[in-house]
């Protein structure tokens, strides 16, 4: 005698692929929504800040001799790059060295290790010919991360990251280039949306760092 399976079991067997597909659909929607919601926050300032304004500068330190910066290192990431002096082009743009592996120091600005003023370093995030640049890492830098700048006199000036901001290119604050005020280091590159027709980014990513409180003698 053949016993037919209960009707309920058949119904469940027919239904489980639909349930699985529905679960996949819900998962896709959830992940997509999370990505869309989280991304703009990261672009606006990431874990280091959400505002479009520069962080408050600390008090000025006593006057100290500065040195022309010649090399940059992000020791926590094993990244290093040579630094060359650059200026401002006739159109008012900061001249960024062509090789994306090289960083430009805005020479009219402060010297590394100086007792006052902003040391401005700029580098390409990427290049059409040579790919990602050394400053492609800027959007990932975390607060407290060390940044070392070696001077022409051999000194290593230690800074630590305190903030990161993203500005529309047209709204890049002029105070970034202040040659007075408290000593700090500013790293600038491009970010945000990329326009393939003009081959340029919409924003600038700016990382702020201040002199590390207690430089280790081993690096001197």
């Amino acid at each position: 005698m053949v016993v037919s399976p209960p009707r309920l079991t058949v119904s469940r067997r027919r239904r489980w692929p639909a349930v699985l597909i529905a679960c996949c659909g819900v998962l896709c929607v959830l992940i997509g929504v999370v990505l869309v919601a989280v991304r703009p926050a990261a672009e606006a300032g990431g874990a280091l800040g959400t505002g479009g304004t520069a962080p408050a500068a600390p008090e000025s330190l006593p006057a100290a001799p500065g040195t022309v910066p010649v090399a940059l290192a992000l020791p926590a990431r094993g990244i290093g790059a040579p630094i060359v002096a650059v200026g401002t082009d006739p159109d008012g743009g900061l001249v960024v060295p062509d090789p994306p592996s090289t960083v430009g120091w805005w020479a009219p600005g402060a010297l590394a290790g100086s007792g006052s003023g902003t040391v401005v370093l700029a580098g390409h995030v990427d290049s059409r010919v040579e790919g990602l640049g050394v400053f492609a890492v800027l959007p990932e830098l975390a607060a407290g991360e060390p940044v070392w700048v070696r001077g022409r006199d051999g000194r290593v000036i230690e800074y630590e990251v305190v903030a990161r901001r993203q500005f529309a290119k047209a709204q890049l604050p002029a105070e970034l280039f202040a040659r007075d005020g408290a000593p700090r280091l500013v790293l600038i590159t491009c970010g945000g949306r990329f326009d393939r027709s003009t081959r340029s980014y919409a924003d600038n990513v700016v990382v702020y760092a201040v002199p590390a409180p207690a430089p280790t003698p081993a690096h001197r």
Binding site: A18, I21, A22, C24, G25, V26, L27, C28, V29, L30, I31, G32, L35, V36, R39, E43, A63, P65, G66, V68, A85, G87, T88, G92, G93, V95, V96, P100, W106, A107, P108, G109, L111, S114, S116, G117, G123, H124, V125, D126, S127, R128, V129, L132, G133, F135, A170, L172, A174, F177, R179, D180, I188, T189, C190, R193, F194, R199, Y201, N204
Partner: protein, 246 residues
Amino acid sequence: MNIRRSRLAVGTILATLALAGAAACSSPNQPAPGPAPGAPPPASDPAAAPGAGQATDAQRAALGQAHQGALALVALGGLGAQQGASEQVRTLGPQLQEQGQSLDQQIRSAANAQGVALGDQLSAQQQSMLADLQSRTGQPFDQAWLRAALDMQQQARDAANAVLNDPNATPEAEAAAQRTLAQLDALLAQLRQAAGEAGSATPGSVNAGTGGQAATQTAPIGAIGLIGLGAVLLGGVGWWWCRRRA
């Protein structure tokens, strides 16, 4: 650089010159204003006019700082003449030096008239600023030197304009400010042109990416794709469910 600090001293030159030219000083009931950049000349008080030999402490301080500011201009000019990489800086250096000497001459006259003794030392901040410049060479030196010179000029201009805009300024003070402005203008145009050519201007933009490899729009596109896929899957399941029920 400690440019801001040296600006303070440079900015007092005009106020002091105006003070000397206008024979002005603080009123008995109001302390003399400090030597802030752009400070208008104090109210007139014949009792303390140059020549009266009765300088107040505030006047002594203002004259001392103005003198140091003029000395800083002279030193900055000399440094440009000596260490400039470009012909422009080597030419502008002596002109700045001359301007500083001219201003210092007037300050010394005012100080002598009031019996104020002046030193010959730059302030620690001014020395630091000059040391900062001295540690640079080549084009970076020229760029920083031009910025320093422009900053000093601008501060002096601001001080002069403050005197001119002050409704309480005496005609003598206004005349002193006008003379100084004319003196500054002659050099300012050259400094600005040289600064533009040397790349010393404050940048208005930074274009540091041409590849697009680091672009962030790929993530939103992926996210939108995921949402779309999820919607299609849910829609399909819903359609199947409705059909089955029917």
